[in-house]
Subunit: 143 residues, 2 copies
Amino acid sequence: MESQERFAQFLNSRGLRSSAPRSQVARIFLRTERHVSTGELYDLVRKKHKEIGYATVSRTLKLLEEAGLCRQVDFGDGTLRYEHAYKHAHHDHLVCTKCGAFVEIYSGKLEKLQDKMVEKYGYMQETHKLNIFGVCPKCQKKK
Amino acid sequence: MESQERFAQFLNSRGLRSSAPRSQVARIFLRTERHVSTGELYDLVRKKHKEIGYATVSRTLKLLEEAGLCRQVDFGDGTLRYEHAYKHAHHDHLVCTKCGAFVEIYSGKLEKLQDKMVEKYGYMQETHKLNIFGVCPKCQKKK
DNA sequence: GTGATATTGATAATTATTATCAGTACTGGT
DNA sequence: ACCAGTACTGATAATAATTATCAATATCAC
Ligand SMILES: [Mn+2]
Ligand SMILES: [Mn+2]
Ligand SMILES: [Zn+2]
Ligand SMILES: [Zn+2]
């Protein structure tokens, strides 16, 4: 597993250890494609490793983020989620306000338009977050 | 003051009262053009009205929101802010990650592109939130 | 005025995140 | 193998923002 390898390398380069808990948390995160909150990942981890604490899960997610293996996603519902960042290009999200289902969206045109706005005001762009909220097809039918 | 009037009307239509605390909080919010958090507004209110509690400020902001006089803004820094919505058309924000300064941005093209994305996936759009983060001109110079 | 209802502000509860810290595990040098 | 110095861990506490609770007060319709 390549990303696992990458994490080990990152830890090493920082003088940090590839401890068992870290590797186990990382493995489980990297194996799910879900956008998980810390709590959700903690629950997943607990199924296999009952001894691992919440703090370690939280800390490992931060390390994975610094290693460029995951990034935060904020749907504005009060809890942060994490998604894969390795070999997962930037994209934004279209989220259903009824059931939480979402799709990942991307448009080069849209990104370029944003760049122009940033330029116009003399800012130096770092990141951006676009969330579009609406009702998904399924939930429209349910109504 | 027109918006103040509108608030009174809204309260009336809901069978709610235009109590003194509500009106005072509303007036102070409507008079500042800042994007305030509940805590910041609470502090502003306190300067004039030492008897008003945090809960009332919070609740009044929610009412103002329902009345269409303000809307939430989330810069992703852990605290929600509120901005005027009455006679303030939709727009997004370009935020400085160093000093917090921001500019309000809008592009019809960008909005239309978003609509197309939503259509493409069969969603029914409700809202969207776009925050672009970068370093403002001033902070670039400081470096 | 009176009784029903809405409102208020202090306080507590909630929620997610982050910090603290004592005990444990690991490391590199000997 | 031993040891001294660090890093790491998990339980717990602290933080911070928001939301709920509730007894006291204010307001309204009659
Ligand atoms: Mn995603
Ligand atoms: Mn604004
Ligand atoms: Zn849905
Ligand atoms: Zn700045």
